[in-house]
Amino acid sequence: MAETYDIERIRTFVAVRRAARPARRAALSLALPLVGFLLVAFVTPILYLLVTAADNPETRTVLPQTLVALEEWDGRSTPEEPVFAAFAADMKAAEASSTAALVGKRLNYELPGMRSKVLAAARMAAKMESGPYRQAFLDKDRIWAAPETWAVIQRNGARLTPYYLLTAVDLKQSPSGGLERVEPDQAIFLAVLGRTLLVAGMVTALTLILGYPVAYVLTIAPKGIAAVMMLMVLLPLWTSLLVRTTAWVVLLQSDGVINSVLLALHLTAEKVQLIFTRIGTVTAMTHIQLPFTILPIYSVMRSIPATQLRAARSLGSGPTSAFWRIYAPQTLPGVVAGCLMTFILSLGYYITPALVGGPQDQMVSNFIAVYINRDLNWGLAAALGVVLLVVTLAIYGLFLRLVGADKIKLG
């Protein structure tokens, strides 16, 4: 009897699943276009970014014969003739296909000066009919005698390299293979990351201080006034980021509106440096980010009944105490959501620090742009992108752990 009962239950279960199938398919087909779009436009670029941050194709494609010959090398002394012969053959091919600059640039990241030396070696190899090559290279430049040079070439024969990711956090591989800090004069990225977090934190704090009271007034104001206020809150969102930032440039510059007013009112004796400063950057970013902090707080505040404060008052609590003990804790989900949104968006700011900030206000994104646009060092740009992504996810995860997913309400 028990068996028939179990079979009956399984049949029922299957029937229920089957009956729900059309609805499941319909739901899936509705979500499918967006899923496809996200795969193409979001997931793929991030995967590509992760790969680019560790990809290491230059040495492998330009010096294939050298890498094979180096397998026999003892790693301590200057390599023997076969390695140099293979190197010369690779260099000849590189000179012919103009790829010597590629590998030169790549080796230059780890051994400064290598770019010009590789180019010179390629030109020399192209002119040589036959060997012996070893002495010729050693005569050309002593760098080819150094085992470190060949060690770097050998190490970069690997398909993937930790070099970019390590550089992005101011670390490097020591000759022995361990990790060590880069020289202080080259260590910039941790400072940039710290600065990025600091600016994002300042912007978040400012938007909260300025936005919380506004959100509260929005919830208690009469309908007409609230609508006008809401329009003013939303207006910045409807203007282009570039236009708003340019407007701040106009306002903040040395002969700008703010300085003129300060001088006219005799508040300052001389022009104040506002543009290209931290103050300017944080001010402009705060203005742009305000709606992102205000809106989640506002939507949570709206869901708190007005009777909550009245109840607290009737039970003996004064207005201030009622606010802090009853109202403020209930707005916490909105505060966390708004701050998280502004903080994470601020981490990726690019245009505003670039136009309003000084050299000391450039954030991680600005360095990514420099490596992509000017230095054509996509590997390091991608590695910085990965670091930013990891930090962002870590902060999001930390918030989730600290306050709980149910405590974050966007609306």
Partner: protein, 364 residues
């Protein structure tokens, strides 16, 4: 009746004196309110929405300030006293429990402002929760409770600091009918056993009739009638009260004279009826459906007799509900006990009777 003047008894806990309230400076939502609430009394303010009852309660609670007039609490004027200094328990329409606190923390909330902490507070919280039958629920969050349980927590929270006066703003509005009726009995029990003065606002007339010592019927910013439930039901003073409390047939008529202490009136179609109450020219005769009976073979002496055409018949278990067109186009509703009823067909002419004592004449 307006501005019901109540001579001040010595034991009045609350007194409204000539209180007026206007939000916009153009219109008064409360017009010239005079009202005394005695110590230990259960007073209900009953009326439709917009009648001024909730505004009156909010002024008493300290959330609105009267535009004119005085409110005395225990003989002291309190118009300018903020709510937290009034020591009044308040139960709100949707309970207003604090969702981020447990039930016990909610109930303990008023105690911390009265310097009661630790063991003493815990004992008071346990006692208050026990009073409403929720002793085991202290650790729950309000969201984990049913509507009825939340209502009880709100009650416990309003009572835990032993206020002499408790105000309630439609506290049972969100509950279903059965639970509402049970809570009415529980609240009434608590009020009498603790000897609290209670001012209760509702738009539900049966709730008001069940619980109150006295009911103030509000309409248009004024108290229309202030009386105990029985008087209010049996002797409404005007058309509004007659129409608002229970079901009533209100029929236009004109006075033609007096006869043996009763007024004689002529209905729209010329039928002459006798009734008690006001005299005047434009009158309304009010009679409750349950006071209209079928006129059998020998109608009782002195009864008003009239006839009409049946339009609708409904069977409602213990009684039948008859809609009849009489007096030249007026719809009259009658409740006929099933024992006295027979089969009715729409279109048939029925003869009905009602006692003059059950017919009240009201001025418009």
């Amino acid at each position: 009746m307006t501005g019901h003047p109540v001579p001040g008894p010595a034991d009045a806990l609350v007194r409204f004196e000539q209180v007026k309230k206007s939000y916009d400076g153009l219109q008064y939502v409360v017009k010239d309110l005079n009202l005394d609430v005695a110590k230990g009394e259960f007073l209900t303010m009953l009326g439709p929405s917009g009648s001024g009852k909730t505004t009156t309660l909010m002024m008493l609670g300290g959330f609105e300030r009267p535009t004119l007039g005085r409110i005395l609490l225990d003989g002291k004027p309190v118009e300018r006293l903020p709510p937290e200094k009034r020591n009044i328990g308040f139960v709100f329409q949707n309970y207003a429990l604090f969702p981020h606190m447990t039930v016990a923390e909610n109930v303990a909330f008023p105690l911390r402002y009265r310097g009661i902490r630790g063991q003493a507070a815990a004992a008071k919280v346990a006692q208050a929760l026990g009073r409403v039958g929720l002793e085991t629920m202290g650790d729950r969050r309000p969201a984990q409770l049913s509507g009825g349980q939340q209502q009880r927590v709100a009650l416990a929270r309003a009572l835990v600091f032993e206020p002499s006066l408790v105000l309630m703003d439609e506290p049972l509005g969100a509950l279903d009918k059965q639970l509402r009726e049970r809570m009415q009995v529980e609240i009434k029990h608590l009020q009498t056993s603790l000897g609290i003065t209670m001012v209760y606002v509702t738009h539900d007339q049966s709730e008001a009739l069940t619980m109150s010592d006295r009911i103030a019927v509000f309409h248009d910013g004024r108290i229309q009638q202030l009386a105990d439930p029985q008087t209010l039901y049996n002797a409404p003073e005007n058309r509004f009260v007659a129409g608002f409390i229970g079901e009533n047939n209100t029929l236009p008529c004109t006075a033609v004279g007096q006869e043996g202490g009763l007024q004689v009136v002529r209905m729209a179609d010329g039928t002459v009826m006798r009734a008690c109450g006001a005299s005047g020219t434009d009158l309304t005769l009010s009679v409750r459906p349950e006071n209209i009976a079928l006129a059998g073979g020998t109608p009782p002496a002195g009864a008003n007799l009239f006839s009409g055409t049946v339009t609708d018949v409904f069977f409602l278990g213990d009684h039948m509900r008859l809609s009849v067109v009489a007096f030249g186009g007026q719809t009259v509703t009658a409740r006929i006990p099933v024992a006295a009823a027979r089969a009715f067909a729409p279109g048939e002419v029925v003869h009905l009777a009602c006692q003059p004592a059950d017919c009240r004449l009201l001025e418009d």
